[in-house]
Amino acid sequence: MNPSPPPPPPRDPDLLEEALGLGRGGSPPWRLAFVEDCVETSGAFVLHHFLKRALSTEGDGTVVFLGLAQPFSHYDRVLRKMGCNLSVQRNKNKLHFIDLLNLEFLDEKGENDREIGFMDLYNRILRSIEAIRSKDNNGGWTTIIIDDLSHLEIAAHGSVKHVLDFLQYCRSLTSEMDCFLVILNHEDIHSSDEALQMLSHLDYISDILIKAETLSTGIAADVHGQMTVVIKDAPGGLIKKLHSFQFKVKENGVEFFYPGSRF
């Protein structure tokens, strides 16, 4: 009699994974992914998806998570319903969680202090990645997930320059330390020219752009929105491929489907 049950068959990749080239496991073919959402449709579920995938046992991935938008308990609960225990992963050092409340430079008024604060944050991320690298050399990759960028803007007291500098530093990590960067941003909150420029800059430097928006017909209970995945052949290069489909968010995952194909 078999003492252990046979391993479950690998499930088919969903539309998002196919679009992102994550279909058959292995490391993603891109380095920097931007997720854009709007007020009516929150794109946080994409980050949860990345988080779960990175921490799954199939890969040996590790995650440095800047969970600035919500407390750790929120992510813990959400991921638990998706079948991933964040507390266990944190204890195993596969997940490094950086909380907004731990950022100490929020009260600082001087520009220098803010710069120092961002430098500290960057150093923290760097130290986490170095610690991960030194421990296991299984070849697993590290994903840095930032949720979300507008909180960094607030930490910078509205200074777009500091945020962009910080992002450039993080981007350098993707090549030097073999990491992947996933950032969540809101597209409908920027009204000043400077902030709009930042949006264009972010679009420019990304390899992949994932946009979650509401349906043009309004909010519906069975289809929560539509997703557009833009893949570029090089940062700042031409658009290689464009995927568009709809999604419905559930407690234990997300359903992706083409319009009209869901029964």
Binding site: R77, D107, I189, I219, V249
Partner: protein
């Protein structure tokens, strides 16, 4: 999933590695105090506080999420956003939750005089209840007097709203005609934000308020409320981005506490509070609704009379205004909350005018409230606030009717509640 299995195996040894969350309190433990009616526990470990309007609680699926941010954008022409603020604060007083009120008025306590009193039961019920055993009544009085009010009450007879006449429910109906008694209003901490040079002063005051909240003991959750009126009013001295204050408040959160907060943004300052900033705050907020005025003849300074609307909507004449829910909180879950309809109408249950309140309001808008020269309250049946779902708007989410209502500027209602509970 292997990780889940590991969690279960280790669950016996340490609580935080278990995939299953422990029940709040073991059945064998003795409950030290009666459960707090002001805080309700919902699915996904979410806790709610009441908004003060039972219908609104029902629509939102339980009330305001404890720890969520709600913002209400005022409309200078439509006064009913203040009703939300008042009901919110009065509900806090009824449940004996500490309330902090910040207002751009020179004397915020003037506004506190306009808070409505909860509807008390009819006279017959009252007579029946007084026949009950006095001992039990005294015991219950003792239990009900919360610690923070004890120093004010002393030997005084328990006030009317805390005796058995008003049931300790999660959400009370409020009599807009009748003002809350002075003795209750005095517990509400208030501050004026008119002359403060920086928003950090307000933030620090909120932090102090938060640290002063009683901690939850055992399974008894406690909550506090912060109500900020006209955060972006032009008479205020600060001009910083609102989102900063919104963000920095959770920094001072203490686990185990909950906070419900409501604040309003003045319309006049809408230009300062740009769309971008507005959207920024929208992302922090968990619940938002738009308050619109309706072109009701004879009630407001009417832009025009909408006869088509009168034909289409039932009970058009009874409506105070419209409430557009922009966004609803969902905590501890990634599934968005989708309401059946996003626009609701505000009605008074008994179609009577309200007196007394007009005189106490700072902005001298005309319309809804009838002026009275004497201070006597007329003997009318108490008007209660109802929020009903307009059948017309069903299925018309992002309704275009909102745009068609004319030149009124849509006001977003965001209610801000600070998250201090760590699940």
């Amino acid at each position: 999933m292997a990780t889940a299995a590991d969690g279960r195996l280790l669950g016996a040894r340490s609580a935080n590695t278990s995939s299953f969350s422990r029940a709040r309190s073991s059945p064998s433990a003795v409950l030290p105090s009666p459960p707090n009616p002001g805080v309700k526990v919902g699915p996904n470990g979410a806790t709610f506080v009441s908004s003060g309007i039972p219908d609104l609680d029902r629509i939102l699926g339980g009330g305001f999420l404890l720890g969520s941010l709600v913002m209400v954008m005022e409309d200078a022409d439509a006064p009913h956003h203040l009703l939300l603020l008042r009901n919110f604060m009065s509900q806090g007083v009824v449940h004996r939750q500490p309330v902090l009120f910040a207002s751009p008025l020179k004397d915020p306590r003037a506004f506190l005089g306009t808070l409505p009193s909860p509807v008390s039961l009819s006279k017959e019920h009252r007579q029946r209840d007084t026949l009950v055993d006095h001992n039990q009544q005294d015991q219950e009085k003792g239990l009900r007097i919360a610690w923070q009010y004890k120093k004010y009450f002393g030997d005084q007879q328990s006030s009317q709203i805390h005796n058995r006449d008003v049931k300790q429910e999660f959400s009370n109906d409020f009599d807009l005609r009748k003002a809350l008694e002075r003795q209750h209003v005095q517990y509400i901490e208030s501050m004026s934000i008119q002359d403060i040079p920086r928003l950090t002063i307000l933030r620090d005051r909120c932090s102090n308020f938060l640290s002063g909240l009683p901690r939850s003991d055992g399974g008894n959750l406690s909550a506090g409320r912060i109500a900020i009126q006209s955060l972006c009013a032009p008479q205020c001295g600060y001009a910083e981005m609102v989102c900063i204050i919104v963000y920095t408040e959770p920094k001072d959160s203490i686990s185990g506490l909950g906070l419900g907060c409501l604040y309003q943004v003045s319309e006049i300052n809408y230009s300062l509070f740009k769309c971008g900033c507005c959207g920024n705050v929208s992302h922090f907020i968990s619940f938002a609704c738009i308050s619109e005025e309706m072109a009701a003849p004879g009630r407001y300074i009417v832009v025009y009379e909408d006869k088509d609307m009168a034909k289409l909507l039932t009970g058009y004449q009874d409506m105070l205004g419209l409430l557009h829910v922009h966004k609803v909180a969902h905590n501890n879950s990634q599934v968005p909350t989708v309401l059946e309809a996003s626009t609701f109408s505000l009605k008074l249950q008994k179609r009577r005018s309200l007196s007394q309140l007009q005189n106490m309001m700072d902005d001298g808008f005309p319309g809804l409230f009838k002026h009275t020269t004497n201070s006597q309250l007329t003997h009318l049946q108490s008007p209660k606030l109802l929020v009903s779902q307009e059948c017309f708007f069903m299925g018309c989410n992002h309704s275009m009717r909102a745009m068609e209502l004319g030149t009124k500027i849509l006001r977003l209602l965001f209610i801000v509640s600070l998250s201090t509970s760590a699940a």
